[in-house]
């Protein structure tokens, strides 16, 4: 089944709403809790990144019996050096964002840790596409 969300980049209070809704759907589907946890962590991180860096974007989730695919797409500034961004502790977040407890530079490493397959494509000035795949079998 497919789910679609538009993530508003201006409303910090709603940040995490899409991953919260996906989590609830997965619980109702009876998916094993350890797998739900992986998706929750990876998707929440990706969604927050989209809000913090790219002023929101679109999320498409496709739930199949064998895997769950989450695609997050934004039209933000893009990531100049993906390898650097994947390093633990690397962060470009502003002071205000860090004060809120985000931007510690663990976002991308955590996404990688919890996804079975993580694919990021980005073009500076155009946007970023993050594809998270978590296997169910």
């Amino acid at each position: 089944m497919k789910l679609h969300f538009e993530v508003d980049g201006n409303d910090f209070l709603l940040a995490g709403d899409a991953s919260g809704k996906v989590k609830n759907v997965l619980k109702k589907l009876g998916i094993e809790s350890s797998i739900i946890r992986k998706i929750a962590i990876a998707m929440y991180e990706a969604e927050m990144n989209m809000v913090i860096h790219a002023n929101g974007g679109r999320v498409d989730v496709d739930i199949l019996p064998e895997q769950i695919q989450v695609v997050l797409q934004d039209t933000g500034p893009g990531i100049p050096d993906i390898d650097l961004a994947m390093k633990e502790g690397y962060s470009t977040a502003s002071h205000e964002i860090r004060e809120l407890g985000f931007g510690a530079g663990m976002g991308l490493p955590n996404m990688k840790k919890y996804s079975d397959n993580l694919h990021i494509t980005s073009e500076v000035g155009k946007g970023t596409k993050v594809e998270i795949i978590i296997l169910l079998k």
Binding site: M1, L3, G16, S19, G20, K23, V25, K27, K28, L29, G30, I31, S33, S34, I36, R37, A40, I41, Y44, E45, I63, L64, P65, G101, N110, Y114, L136
Partner: protein, 433 residues
């Protein structure tokens, strides 16, 4: 068979929809003008008792008459019980009144709470899967089993102060050569969940508490006993730190466990647990979570407003500290020796999953999503379900009909009348139009 403490008095229920909206596990539906509790989902939080204006939701607690069956009848008093007496009644007087109403002994749960705090600190010294979530509130345990099964292994596997107190009492009597089947241990409870907890315990096979009475019922008896009679005060040991347990932040202090948060009120607890699930609270080591606002002082069976009782408790703690003075609390080695760890695991209860087969569940979820889109999405409750989404689920599961929604019904009527009107325009072949 015993299933729940929270139940419905259907003669008083008017079928309004106040309670269905406040239930954190969507466990209530209105059918035939009466609220129906879905037992598998109910976590005994007592929200519906607090919100019902007709007194139709009630807690079925044990009856105090049951104590007569035991020659030795021990009352377990929690600090939250003392906090209900806002007119300055002393703990000694309250305990004396409990003897008068038929108990033969009183053990204060605060004594056990101090030991549980110690065990918790010890447990936290080893590396654990953070954050560890306290297990003292039975409602939170039930909530985690149902809504947050991924967090079960974060739960502190240590029994509640009430349970430790009961085990200690029975062990003490046994050591004095008394047959424990003659010893009844009873808890004076601030909430319905504690009653469910002793009849259906978590983490161990059987609870050593034999009955749980409503705090309101015992309070009345104690007040009546105190009036006009002189009671000989009973000797006791002050335990200020144990008494603090009843308030938020009471269980464990920040000095002892670093990175510790205390949260109360079930909605806020749910919010915190969502964050734990999302991995954003991994730097927090310990979470003390209580379902009622104001902790146990806000329980559905308490008498006094929790903000008043909190003040009363604060005064009691000050008094206890003064009484205790410089004296060190005598350590009770037996109390410390009682095994306190869970010996059976806590299992998830996936009551929300649609179907065991994933493909079937996905198919059902697709139906739910498409039906939800057609619904008004105003969560009016007229269908008897708390939200439009929940109603869509009920329909797909076969527990409700689409026409139970008045908006859908009106749409159907409109469609039908339109097609009837169309039919009236048809001309019979034998007549002229």
């Amino acid at each position: 068979m015993y299933s729940h403490s929270v139940t419905l008095d259907s003669s008083k229920c008017r079928g309004c929809t106040d309670c269905i909206k406040r239930c954190p596990t969507e466990a209530i539906r209105v059918r035939d003008s009466k609220a129906k509790i879905i037992n598998d989902r109910c976590i005994d939080c007592g929200n519906c008792i607090a919100v019902c204006n007709n007194g139709a939701k009630k807690a079925v607690m044990d009856s105090i008459g049951m104590i007569k069956a035991y020659p030795y009848r021990i009352a377990l008093t929690a600090p939250s019980f003392y906090a209900q007496f806002s007119k300055g009644e002393s703990i000694e007087n309250i305990i004396a009144a409990l003897y008068t109403i038929g108990f033969t002994d009183v053990f204060e749960v605060s004594q056990a709470a101090q030991i549980i705090t110690k065990h918790t600190q010890e447990y936290m010294k080893s590396d654990r899967e953070y954050p560890v979530i306290s297990s003292a509130c039975p409602v939170i345990m039930r909530l985690i089993q149902r809504r947050f099964p991924a967090l079960i292994h974060h739960v502190l596997p240590i029994m509640s102060p009430m349970e430790l107190a009961a085990r200690y009492v029975k062990e003490t009597y046994a050591r004095a050569g008394i047959d424990v089947s003659q010893v009844g241990v009873f808890f004076i409870s601030p909430c319905p969940a504690k009653a469910t907890d002793i009849h259906k315990p978590k983490g161990f096979e059987k609870s050593y508490v034999d009955g749980a009475f409503s705090m309101q019922e015992i309070y009345l008896k104690v007040i009546h006993t105190m009036e006009g009679t002189y009671l000989k005060e009973k000797k006791r040991v002050p335990s200020p730190d144990g008494i603090l347990w009843a308030t938020r932040n009471g269980g464990v202090s920040n000095n002892e466990i670093d990175n510790h948060i205390a949260v109360d009120g079930i909605e806020r607890v749910i919010d915190i647990l969502e964050k734990v699930e999302d991995g954003t609270l991994s730097k927090i080591h310990y979470i003390e979570a209580l379902a009622c606002t104001g902790g146990c002082l806000g329980g559905a069976l308490t008498i006094e407003n929790p903000f008043v009782s909190r003040h009363t408790l604060k005064k009691l703690v000050e008094k206890e500290r003064k009484l205790l003075g410089d004296k060190a609390i005598q350590e009770d080695t037996l109390l410390e020796e009682i095994p306190y760890l869970y010996n059976i695991s806590v299992d998830p209860k996936p009551v929300f999953s649609l179907d065991e087969d994933l493909e079937t569940a996905i198919e059902m979820m697709e139906h739910i999503e498409s039906l939800y889109k057609q619904l008004p999405q105003i969560d009016c409750g007229s269908c008897g379900a708390p939200t439009c989404r929940c109603f869509a689920e009920d329909v797909v599961k076969g527990c409700a009909n689409v026409e139970d929604c008045i908006f859908m019904l009106r749409k159907r009527i409109k469609e039908l009348s339109e097609s009837m009107f169309e039919l009236t325009k048809k001309i019979l072949p034998t007549t002229k139009g």
